[in-house]
Every structure is written in C-alpha cells, then in structure tokens.
C-alpha cells in the first residue's frame, strides 16, 4: 500500500524512532481504538471532546446530533485534530525517570466536510455501528428518515496522519540495571465482561456470540 508522505506537521519529533507513517499501521490503530478525541478551536480556546469514529478506506467518519457544537464547528471547515490512543502496558523501569508506557497513537490533522449524499451517509453510519460491534448493524433497526435528519455526518480525509508506537521492555541507564528493583511491563487491555441484559429485554433473546466474546483487537492480530 502506498502511504501519504509525512508532512512537517505530522512528523514525529520527540522520540522520532517511534514515528510510523505507513497506512497499514495507521489504519490498524484507528480501527482498534474504540473512541477518539477531537480537537477544535472556538474563540481561541481549544476543546478536546471524546467521540466514536469509524474508518472507511482513507476517510474517517464522525457523527452526532445536528446541534452538537463540536460537529457544527467542524462543519465550517475549521482546522481539526483527531487523536486515538491505545494503551498497551505500563513500562516499569528501575529509575522513576525511565518509566514509560507502551502505546499506539494516531494523530490526524484535517478539515471536515459534511456528508450530504444519502448513500455515503448510510454507509458511514453503518460503519460507525460496525466499528463498535461487528455484525450489530444487521441486528439493530436501521435509522428512520427522522433520525437521519437529526444526524450530522462528517468526513475527514486521512491525508495528514502519523502514528507513534512504543513497545518492549524498559530501557534503563546502564548503571541502574544492578539496582534491586523489579522492572518490566504490566500489560493492559480493554476487556469486555459478560453482556448485561437490558432489564426490559424480552424472554428468549440472547446476544450474538461476537458480543459474548467481545474484544477490540481483530482476531489474528
């Protein structure tokens, strides 16, 4: 896969060896991350708001109410930043200074366009449901015309994006390896518990197996 070149704004400067610019890495992190954090500016004040996203090809979709301030601000074509972060582990070094985290993050700089085409809107909303729970778009009642009219869908191109990844054990100063201090990694994952039935669930309806065995990382990854 060809990947868009890194720009000066997306080139990882701090700890540059952690920077990744290939499409496969960026897409994989965006797809695994459940939520993103969207940055935008109103009257000089930055705001950072969590929301759900979905990727389709080289496009990132956001959605929400037509009166959502984040979305109505982004719709004006202002500069936005969308960041996702997956924490994979706590890196415990022998010195406080070298403590770190294993993580995978992606930063996307873009301006949004409002999605008006009904078919693209439908696909984007389905992608968002499927991003959260694969198979769910088939199970749930699709949006009505009224619900669609109340929903704003924005598309952001993934032309200017970079990933940053840390993996592996701590890296201590050579003289600290002799210290009698445990060092290593505490792995962390977002883990699903057993599905909790809606109190109003009718008798005899079970969740599909994918929900019972829910996990963020795609099988095989």
């Amino acid at each position: 896969m060809d990947s868009p070149p890194a720009t000066p704004r997306t080139t990882v400067r701090r700890l540059a060896a952690r920077g990744r610019y290939d499409r496969e890495t960026i897409h994989g992190i965006l797809d695994e991350a459940l939520v993103c954090h969207v940055g935008f500016v109103v009257d000089g004040q930055p705001y950072v708001i969590p929301t759900i996203h979905a990727r389709v090809g080289d496009t990132l979709y956001l959605h929400g109410s037509t009166v959502n301030r984040m979305l109505t601000t982004l719709r004006e074509g202002v500069a936005a930043c969308v960041t996702v972060t997956i924490v994979d582990g706590l890196v415990m070094a022998r010195s406080a200074f070298h403590h770190s985290m294993n993580y995978r993050s992606v930063v996307v700089l873009a301006t949004a366009r409002e999605v008006g085409d009904p078919e693209e809107r439908r696909q984007a909303l389905e992608a968002i449901v499927e991003h959260v729970a694969p198979g769910r778009a088939k199970d749930a009642r699709p949006p009505s015309e009224k619900e669609l009219r109340a929903t704003l869908v924005l598309a952001l191109p993934l032309d200017e994006a970079s990933a940053k990844v840390r993996t592996g054990p701590p890296v201590d100063d050579e003289e600290d390896y002799a210290l009698p201090c445990w060092a290593g990694v505490i792995p962390l994952t977002l883990t699903a518990g057993p599905p909790v039935d809606d109190p109003r669930l009718a008798a005899g309806i079970a969740p599909r197996p994918e929900l019972v065995a829910y996990r963020r990382r795609p099988a095989g990854a």
Copy 2:
C-alpha cells in the same frame, strides 16, 4: 466539599442531564483515568496529544522533556484543554440510532504555569509515578539532578472543569422494545495481565503485590 461553579464554557450543553460539576466526581475520574489528551493551538491548528497526568488537590500536573513541543507551548500560558475519558461499556439499543456508550469524561480548561519550586517539582513527579502505579515512587530510583534539569513540570488549576457521565441500560423508543433484538450493555474495563519481567531482570526480584493485582479503579470504588 465546595466545588468551583460551572462556567458558560464548561457547562454541558448536549444531553445536559449527563453533566456533573462536583469536585468528588471530577477528581475521581481524573484519578482513575490513566492518560489524558491535551489540546493546544499552534498557528491556528489544534493538536491533541496523549500524556500522563496526576492530580494533587485542585491542581493537575503534566511533565515531560524540556524540548517537548506540547509542554513548551503550554508553558507560554496559552489556552489549553485537558480531557480524560473512561469507557465503561457499550450500550446496545434495539435501534442503531440509540446505541451509545457508558463513559465518564472530564474536560479541564486552563492555562498552565511552569513549576519552578524544587519541592513542588519533586512532589509533582512523585505524584505522576504514583498515579500510574501506587507505591512505585518508593521502589524506583528517584530522579537525579541531571534528570530533573531535563524535565519540564507544568501545573494547571482545576478551576474550570466539568464531567460528563452516562450509566445504565439503553433507552429505546417505546415501539422498539417489541423488536426481537438483543439489547443491553457490554461492560468494558482496562485490565492488567500478569507482569512481564524485563529480560535483564536479576534473579530473585519479584514485582510488589500491587503490580501483580494491578487495577485502575481504587479499591472499594
């Protein structure tokens, strides 16, 4: 506990019933969240960068390298936004439209001050280590003078902050409750696996019990 009043900028407008402004809720979410996302503006472009934080009283501390662009930008006293988000579950409604998430988030608007006082710097850095892993500041080698000189510590007051919280089952349109679609909540938690020893760990050093039983939510919560 008295809590600072919500300001027009931090009053939750969308789904206002989810807004929380009491200090106890805000502090609890900030303390449980492992990382935050920091928003700042450079040349009109917002950036959102993940980092580790720690709260001490009504102050939020950030730290990093003295050449970290996020920190050197914030040090100038520009407007910043720090957001933390804890995802507690996937809310599966009978309609695609009413799907949601259970979450707890906090948005802090503030300008940073650089921490120069050596004692406050020491306490802030210790708080950051303890935020990640309670007890760890005692086990690890404390920062050297050289390491301290390479570290920038910023303090942000928690004067203008709000939380947003969703809990509970899906809320469907009344006519959708008859649909033969499973509905409920998939609980999600950030879960620790068994500690992985550093390949260079000396024989006979075990992780402290708090690391073996690592969890983000404070005991009793």
